[in-house]
Amino acid sequence: MNDRNEFDEDPQLRAILGQADPARSLTPADPQGLARLLEDTMATDITEETTTPVRQRGARTWLGVAAAVAVIAGGGFAVASSMGGDEPTTPAAVDKPEPAADPVVVTLQAPTLAAKCAMPTPEILAQFDTAFSGTVTAVDGDVITLTPTETFAGDAADEVDIVGGMDGRALGGVVDFQVGETYYVSAMGGQVSACGYSGSTSDSQLSELYNVAFR
Protein backbone atom coordinates (compact mmCIF):
# COMPACT_ATOMS: atom_id res chain seq x y z
CA MET A 1 0.00 0.00 0.00
CA ASN A 2 1.42 3.36 -0.90
CA ASP A 3 0.09 5.10 2.16
CA ARG A 4 1.80 2.49 4.28
CA ASN A 5 5.20 3.77 3.13
CA GLU A 6 4.55 7.29 4.38
CA PHE A 7 2.79 5.90 7.39
CA ASP A 8 5.78 3.75 8.22
CA GLU A 9 8.23 6.61 8.38
CA ASP A 10 10.45 6.31 11.41
CA PRO A 11 11.79 2.76 11.12
CA GLN A 12 14.21 3.59 13.93
CA LEU A 13 11.49 4.22 16.47
CA ARG A 14 9.66 1.16 15.23
CA ALA A 15 12.74 -0.94 15.79
CA ILE A 16 13.19 0.48 19.29
CA LEU A 17 9.59 -0.36 20.11
CA GLY A 18 9.99 -3.74 18.48
CA GLN A 19 12.81 -4.57 20.87
CA ALA A 20 10.37 -4.16 23.74
CA ASP A 21 7.63 -6.32 22.25
CA PRO A 22 6.46 -8.63 25.06
CA ALA A 23 5.19 -11.20 22.55
CA ARG A 24 8.66 -11.79 21.13
CA SER A 25 9.29 -14.48 23.69
CA LEU A 26 5.76 -15.85 23.66
CA THR A 27 5.65 -19.65 23.60
CA PRO A 28 3.45 -21.11 20.88
CA ALA A 29 -0.09 -22.09 21.85
CA ASP A 30 -0.80 -25.68 22.79
CA PRO A 31 -2.58 -27.04 19.69
CA GLN A 32 -4.76 -29.45 21.65
CA GLY A 33 -5.83 -26.77 24.11
CA LEU A 34 -6.68 -24.52 21.19
CA ALA A 35 -8.71 -27.21 19.46
CA ARG A 36 -10.64 -27.77 22.68
CA LEU A 37 -11.27 -24.04 22.98
CA LEU A 38 -12.70 -23.83 19.48
CA GLU A 39 -14.90 -26.85 20.08
CA ASP A 40 -16.21 -25.39 23.34
CA THR A 41 -16.92 -22.12 21.60
CA MET A 42 -18.88 -23.77 18.80
CA ALA A 43 -20.82 -25.79 21.35
CA THR A 44 -22.37 -22.58 22.64
CA ASP A 45 -26.01 -22.34 21.68
CA ILE A 46 -26.41 -19.07 19.83
CA THR A 47 -30.19 -19.27 19.81
CA GLU A 48 -30.42 -18.87 23.57
CA GLU A 49 -31.74 -15.53 24.76
CA THR A 50 -29.30 -15.19 27.61
CA THR A 51 -25.63 -14.85 26.87
CA THR A 52 -24.54 -17.72 29.13
CA PRO A 53 -21.45 -19.45 27.77
CA VAL A 54 -21.23 -23.23 28.10
CA ARG A 55 -17.58 -23.01 29.07
CA GLN A 56 -16.78 -23.21 32.74
CA ARG A 57 -13.71 -21.27 33.59
CA GLY A 58 -12.00 -19.63 36.55
CA ALA A 59 -13.37 -17.16 38.99
CA ARG A 60 -14.22 -14.43 36.55
CA THR A 61 -17.46 -12.63 37.26
CA TRP A 62 -18.84 -13.02 33.80
CA LEU A 63 -18.46 -16.72 33.14
CA GLY A 64 -20.48 -19.62 34.46
CA VAL A 65 -23.70 -21.49 34.01
CA ALA A 66 -26.54 -20.17 36.18
CA ALA A 67 -27.54 -16.56 35.80
CA ALA A 68 -27.68 -14.59 39.02
CA VAL A 69 -30.03 -11.69 38.75
CA ALA A 70 -29.01 -8.51 40.50
CA VAL A 71 -31.93 -6.14 40.60
CA ILE A 72 -31.18 -2.52 41.19
CA ALA A 73 -34.40 -1.12 42.59
CA GLY A 74 -35.62 1.71 40.41
CA GLY A 75 -36.13 4.93 42.29
CA GLY A 76 -37.40 8.26 41.12
CA PHE A 77 -34.45 10.19 39.98
CA ALA A 78 -34.40 13.87 39.40
CA VAL A 79 -32.74 14.25 36.07
CA ALA A 80 -29.31 15.75 36.32
CA SER A 81 -30.33 18.45 33.88
CA SER A 82 -31.56 20.60 36.73
CA MET A 83 -28.08 21.71 37.67
CA GLY A 84 -28.21 22.66 41.30
CA GLY A 85 -32.01 22.54 41.33
CA ASP A 86 -33.76 19.42 42.61
CA GLU A 87 -32.04 17.17 45.10
CA PRO A 88 -31.47 13.71 43.64
CA THR A 89 -33.50 11.09 45.56
CA THR A 90 -31.45 8.50 47.40
CA PRO A 91 -31.26 5.30 45.36
CA ALA A 92 -32.78 2.26 47.10
CA ALA A 93 -30.36 -0.19 48.69
CA VAL A 94 -28.52 -2.25 46.13
CA ASP A 95 -28.02 -5.98 46.51
CA LYS A 96 -24.49 -6.51 45.36
CA PRO A 97 -24.03 -9.75 43.44
CA GLU A 98 -21.57 -12.27 44.83
CA PRO A 99 -18.19 -11.96 43.15
CA ALA A 100 -18.43 -15.58 42.06
CA ALA A 101 -18.33 -17.27 38.68
CA ASP A 102 -21.95 -16.48 37.80
CA PRO A 103 -22.66 -13.98 35.05
CA VAL A 104 -24.32 -10.78 36.20
CA VAL A 105 -27.67 -9.69 34.83
CA VAL A 106 -28.70 -6.14 35.66
CA THR A 107 -32.22 -4.76 35.37
CA LEU A 108 -32.85 -1.08 34.80
CA GLN A 109 -36.08 0.91 34.72
CA ALA A 110 -37.01 2.86 31.64
CA PRO A 111 -37.77 6.43 32.66
CA THR A 112 -41.41 7.17 33.34
CA LEU A 113 -41.14 10.84 34.20
CA ALA A 114 -41.37 13.41 31.50
CA ALA A 115 -38.23 15.22 32.41
CA LYS A 116 -37.17 18.69 31.50
CA CYS A 117 -33.87 18.39 29.73
CA ALA A 118 -30.90 20.65 29.37
CA MET A 119 -28.15 19.96 26.85
CA PRO A 120 -26.15 16.91 27.92
CA THR A 121 -22.69 17.64 29.30
CA PRO A 122 -19.81 15.24 29.94
CA GLU A 123 -19.46 16.51 33.51
CA ILE A 124 -22.95 15.29 34.34
CA LEU A 125 -22.57 12.07 32.37
CA ALA A 126 -19.46 11.29 34.39
CA GLN A 127 -21.59 11.24 37.54
CA PHE A 128 -23.92 8.47 36.41
CA ASP A 129 -23.44 5.30 38.40
CA THR A 130 -24.17 3.09 35.42
CA ALA A 131 -22.99 3.63 31.87
CA PHE A 132 -22.08 1.23 29.10
CA SER A 133 -22.27 0.58 25.41
CA GLY A 134 -23.96 -2.58 24.28
CA THR A 135 -25.82 -4.46 21.58
CA VAL A 136 -29.54 -5.19 21.72
CA THR A 137 -30.11 -8.93 21.62
CA ALA A 138 -33.87 -8.93 22.17
CA VAL A 139 -36.91 -6.69 22.35
CA ASP A 140 -39.77 -8.56 23.97
CA GLY A 141 -42.84 -6.56 24.92
CA ASP A 142 -41.60 -3.94 27.32
CA VAL A 143 -38.25 -5.57 28.02
CA ILE A 144 -35.18 -4.58 26.03
CA THR A 145 -32.19 -6.88 26.49
CA LEU A 146 -28.65 -5.73 25.79
CA THR A 147 -25.24 -7.34 25.96
CA PRO A 148 -22.72 -4.77 27.20
CA THR A 149 -19.57 -4.42 25.18
CA GLU A 150 -17.81 -1.73 27.14
CA THR A 151 -18.66 -0.61 30.66
CA PHE A 152 -17.79 2.94 31.64
CA ALA A 153 -19.40 3.12 35.06
CA GLY A 154 -20.87 0.56 37.41
CA ASP A 155 -20.39 -3.19 37.54
CA ALA A 156 -19.59 -4.97 34.30
CA ALA A 157 -22.61 -7.12 33.55
CA ASP A 158 -23.21 -9.92 31.10
CA GLU A 159 -26.66 -8.77 30.30
CA VAL A 160 -28.78 -5.70 30.95
CA ASP A 161 -32.57 -5.64 30.80
CA ILE A 162 -34.40 -2.34 30.48
CA VAL A 163 -37.98 -2.80 31.65
CA GLY A 164 -40.95 -0.52 31.26
CA GLY A 165 -40.23 0.63 27.75
CA MET A 166 -42.87 0.14 25.10
CA ASP A 167 -42.04 -2.18 22.21
CA GLY A 168 -38.45 -1.10 22.11
CA ARG A 169 -39.29 2.56 22.05
CA ALA A 170 -38.01 3.29 25.52
CA LEU A 171 -36.94 6.70 26.71
CA GLY A 172 -40.15 8.33 25.52
CA GLY A 173 -39.58 7.31 21.96
CA VAL A 174 -36.27 9.16 21.82
CA VAL A 175 -34.26 5.97 21.47
CA ASP A 176 -35.61 3.26 19.22
CA PHE A 177 -33.87 0.08 20.31
CA GLN A 178 -33.40 -2.29 17.40
CA VAL A 179 -32.11 -5.83 17.75
CA GLY A 180 -28.52 -6.10 16.57
CA GLU A 181 -27.81 -2.38 16.90
CA THR A 182 -25.45 -0.88 19.45
CA TYR A 183 -26.34 1.85 21.93
CA TYR A 184 -24.95 3.87 24.79
CA VAL A 185 -27.05 3.52 27.94
CA SER A 186 -26.59 5.43 31.14
CA ALA A 187 -28.57 5.21 34.35
CA MET A 188 -28.62 6.61 37.86
CA GLY A 189 -30.06 4.67 40.78
CA GLY A 190 -31.37 1.98 38.47
CA GLN A 191 -33.26 4.33 36.18
CA VAL A 192 -32.19 5.01 32.64
CA SER A 193 -31.58 8.64 31.79
CA ALA A 194 -34.17 10.29 29.55
CA CYS A 195 -32.23 13.36 28.55
CA GLY A 196 -29.95 12.61 25.66
CA TYR A 197 -27.42 10.56 27.64
CA SER A 198 -28.42 7.33 25.93
CA GLY A 199 -28.68 6.61 22.24
CA SER A 200 -27.17 4.98 19.21
CA THR A 201 -23.39 4.55 19.09
CA SER A 202 -23.48 5.89 15.56
CA ASP A 203 -24.38 9.28 17.02
CA SER A 204 -21.02 11.04 16.86
CA GLN A 205 -21.96 13.77 19.31
CA LEU A 206 -23.00 11.17 21.86
CA SER A 207 -19.78 9.23 21.26
CA GLU A 208 -17.79 12.36 21.88
CA LEU A 209 -19.74 12.96 25.11
CA TYR A 210 -18.90 9.50 26.37
CA ASN A 211 -15.27 9.77 25.29
CA VAL A 212 -14.83 12.96 27.27
CA ALA A 213 -16.84 11.89 30.30
CA PHE A 214 -15.09 8.56 30.79
CA ARG A 215 -11.59 9.29 29.56
Binding site: M1, D3, R4, F7, D10, L13, R14, I16, L17, G18, Q19, A20, D21, P22, A23, L26, A29, L34, L37, L38, D40, T41, M42, T44, I46, T51, P53, R55, R57, G58, R60, T61, W62, L63, P99, P148, T149, E150, T151, D155, A156
Partner: protein, 168 residues
Protein backbone atom coordinates in the same frame (compact mmCIF):
# COMPACT_ATOMS: atom_id res chain seq x y z
CA UNK B 1 -31.74 -25.54 4.12
CA UNK B 2 -31.48 -28.23 6.83
CA UNK B 3 -30.12 -27.38 10.23
CA UNK B 4 -27.20 -29.70 9.69
CA UNK B 5 -26.07 -27.95 6.54
CA UNK B 6 -26.42 -24.50 8.12
CA UNK B 7 -24.61 -25.69 11.20
CA UNK B 8 -21.74 -27.22 9.23
CA UNK B 9 -21.44 -24.08 7.12
CA UNK B 10 -21.35 -21.95 10.23
CA UNK B 11 -18.71 -24.12 11.83
CA UNK B 12 -16.58 -23.99 8.73
CA UNK B 13 -16.81 -20.22 8.54
CA UNK B 14 -15.98 -19.85 12.22
CA UNK B 15 -12.99 -22.17 11.90
CA UNK B 16 -11.72 -20.08 9.02
CA UNK B 17 -12.04 -16.89 11.06
CA UNK B 18 -10.48 -18.53 14.11
CA UNK B 19 -7.61 -19.74 11.96
CA UNK B 20 -6.93 -16.18 10.92
CA UNK B 21 -7.35 -14.34 14.21
CA UNK B 22 -6.52 -16.67 17.10
CA UNK B 23 -2.74 -16.47 17.10
CA UNK B 24 -2.55 -12.72 16.39
CA UNK B 25 -5.15 -11.99 19.10
CA UNK B 26 -3.20 -14.21 21.45
CA UNK B 27 -0.09 -12.10 20.86
CA UNK B 28 -2.13 -8.90 21.08
CA UNK B 29 -3.33 -9.92 24.53
CA UNK B 30 0.06 -11.22 25.69
CA UNK B 31 1.41 -7.75 25.01
CA UNK B 32 -1.19 -6.08 27.17
CA UNK B 33 -2.07 -8.25 30.12
CA UNK B 34 -1.07 -11.23 32.26
CA UNK B 35 -1.27 -14.80 30.98
CA UNK B 36 -4.40 -15.78 32.87
CA UNK B 37 -6.40 -12.75 31.78
CA UNK B 38 -5.08 -13.19 28.24
CA UNK B 39 -6.42 -16.75 28.13
CA UNK B 40 -9.83 -15.68 29.40
CA UNK B 41 -10.14 -12.73 27.06
CA UNK B 42 -9.03 -14.82 24.08
CA UNK B 43 -11.83 -17.25 24.87
CA UNK B 44 -14.32 -14.41 25.21
CA UNK B 45 -13.17 -12.89 21.92
CA UNK B 46 -13.66 -16.18 20.08
CA UNK B 47 -17.09 -16.49 21.64
CA UNK B 48 -18.08 -13.10 20.24
CA UNK B 49 -16.73 -14.14 16.83
CA UNK B 50 -18.91 -17.26 17.03
CA UNK B 51 -22.04 -15.43 18.19
CA UNK B 52 -21.67 -12.52 15.80
CA UNK B 53 -20.29 -14.53 12.92
CA UNK B 54 -22.51 -12.67 10.47
CA UNK B 55 -20.92 -9.37 11.55
CA UNK B 56 -17.34 -10.55 11.03
CA UNK B 57 -15.86 -8.81 7.95
CA UNK B 58 -14.64 -10.97 5.07
CA UNK B 59 -11.05 -11.92 4.52
CA UNK B 60 -8.19 -10.11 6.18
CA UNK B 61 -10.42 -7.40 7.57
CA UNK B 62 -11.61 -9.91 10.14
CA UNK B 63 -8.39 -9.40 12.07
CA UNK B 64 -8.65 -5.67 12.89
CA UNK B 65 -12.29 -6.32 13.77
CA UNK B 66 -11.23 -9.09 16.14
CA UNK B 67 -8.59 -6.81 17.70
CA UNK B 68 -11.38 -4.34 18.39
CA UNK B 69 -13.46 -7.01 20.10
CA UNK B 70 -10.46 -8.19 22.13
CA UNK B 71 -9.74 -4.62 23.16
CA UNK B 72 -13.26 -4.11 24.55
CA UNK B 73 -13.25 -7.48 26.27
CA UNK B 74 -9.88 -6.69 27.81
CA UNK B 75 -11.13 -3.33 29.09
CA UNK B 76 -14.07 -5.06 30.77
CA UNK B 77 -11.80 -7.66 32.33
CA UNK B 78 -9.47 -5.01 33.66
CA UNK B 79 -12.34 -3.09 35.17
CA UNK B 80 -13.44 -6.14 37.16
CA UNK B 81 -9.86 -6.87 38.14
CA UNK B 82 -9.30 -3.30 39.34
CA UNK B 83 -12.30 -3.51 41.60
CA UNK B 84 -11.05 -6.74 43.12
CA UNK B 85 -7.59 -5.33 43.61
CA UNK B 86 -8.98 -2.28 45.37
CA UNK B 87 -10.66 -4.57 47.90
CA UNK B 88 -7.40 -6.41 48.46
CA UNK B 89 -5.52 -3.23 49.20
CA UNK B 90 -7.78 -2.43 52.09
CA UNK B 91 -6.61 -5.42 54.07
CA UNK B 92 -3.03 -5.97 53.00
CA UNK B 93 -0.04 -3.72 53.32
CA UNK B 94 1.69 -3.25 50.02
CA UNK B 95 5.47 -2.95 50.09
CA UNK B 96 6.55 -0.02 47.97
CA UNK B 97 8.84 -1.12 45.10
CA UNK B 98 12.49 -0.24 45.64
CA UNK B 99 13.93 2.55 43.53
CA UNK B 100 15.62 1.38 40.36
CA UNK B 101 18.38 3.55 39.00
CA UNK B 102 17.78 4.41 35.33
CA UNK B 103 21.10 2.86 34.33
CA UNK B 104 20.00 -0.47 35.81
CA UNK B 105 17.02 -0.71 33.48
CA UNK B 106 17.16 -2.90 30.46
CA UNK B 107 16.41 -1.14 27.16
CA UNK B 108 13.09 -3.01 27.14
CA UNK B 109 12.17 -1.56 30.51
CA UNK B 110 13.06 1.93 29.37
CA UNK B 111 10.66 1.66 26.46
CA UNK B 112 7.98 0.09 28.63
CA UNK B 113 8.42 2.87 31.16
CA UNK B 114 8.20 5.49 28.43
CA UNK B 115 5.02 3.95 27.03
CA UNK B 116 3.54 3.98 30.51
CA UNK B 117 4.07 7.72 30.68
CA UNK B 118 2.03 8.37 27.57
CA UNK B 119 -1.72 8.76 27.57
CA UNK B 120 -3.33 5.32 27.23
CA UNK B 121 -4.74 6.07 23.79
CA UNK B 122 -1.36 7.33 22.55
CA UNK B 123 0.39 4.23 23.86
CA UNK B 124 -2.18 2.00 22.21
CA UNK B 125 -1.69 3.72 18.83
CA UNK B 126 2.04 3.09 19.06
CA UNK B 127 1.56 -0.53 20.05
CA UNK B 128 -0.82 -1.20 17.14
CA UNK B 129 1.65 0.49 14.78
CA UNK B 130 4.85 -1.12 16.02
CA UNK B 131 3.80 -4.47 17.49
CA UNK B 132 0.66 -5.47 15.61
CA UNK B 133 2.16 -3.65 12.58
CA UNK B 134 -1.18 -2.39 11.35
CA UNK B 135 -1.72 0.22 8.65
CA UNK B 136 -3.80 3.38 9.21
CA UNK B 137 -7.08 1.89 7.92
CA UNK B 138 -6.67 -1.16 10.11
CA UNK B 139 -5.86 0.86 13.21
CA UNK B 140 -8.91 2.97 12.41
CA UNK B 141 -11.04 -0.16 12.56
CA UNK B 142 -9.58 -1.30 15.85
CA UNK B 143 -9.94 2.07 17.57
CA UNK B 144 -13.12 3.20 15.82
CA UNK B 145 -11.51 6.34 14.40
CA UNK B 146 -11.02 7.66 10.89
CA UNK B 147 -7.72 6.77 9.13
CA UNK B 148 -7.01 10.49 9.01
CA UNK B 149 -7.35 10.87 12.75
CA UNK B 150 -5.13 7.84 13.17
CA UNK B 151 -2.35 9.34 11.05
CA UNK B 152 -2.45 12.64 12.88
CA UNK B 153 -2.56 11.18 16.38
CA UNK B 154 0.07 8.59 15.59
CA UNK B 155 2.44 11.25 14.35
CA UNK B 156 1.93 13.16 17.60
CA UNK B 157 2.33 10.05 19.70
CA UNK B 158 5.62 9.19 18.02
CA UNK B 159 6.89 12.69 18.75
CA UNK B 160 5.86 12.41 22.39
CA UNK B 161 7.52 9.03 22.79
CA UNK B 162 10.75 10.32 21.34
CA UNK B 163 10.69 13.27 23.73
CA UNK B 164 10.26 10.97 26.68
CA UNK B 165 12.96 8.59 25.52
CA UNK B 166 15.37 11.47 25.09
CA UNK B 167 14.62 12.74 28.58
CA UNK B 168 15.55 9.49 30.31
Amino acid sequence: MSDEVTDAGRRARFEAVAGLVTEPVRRFLARRTDAETADDVLADTLLVCWRRLDDVPDGDEALPWAYGVARHALANAERSARRQRRLAYRITVVDPPSETAPEDEQPDDRVAAALARLRPDEAELLRLWAWEQLGPAEIATVLDLTPNAVSIRLHRARGRLKEILEES
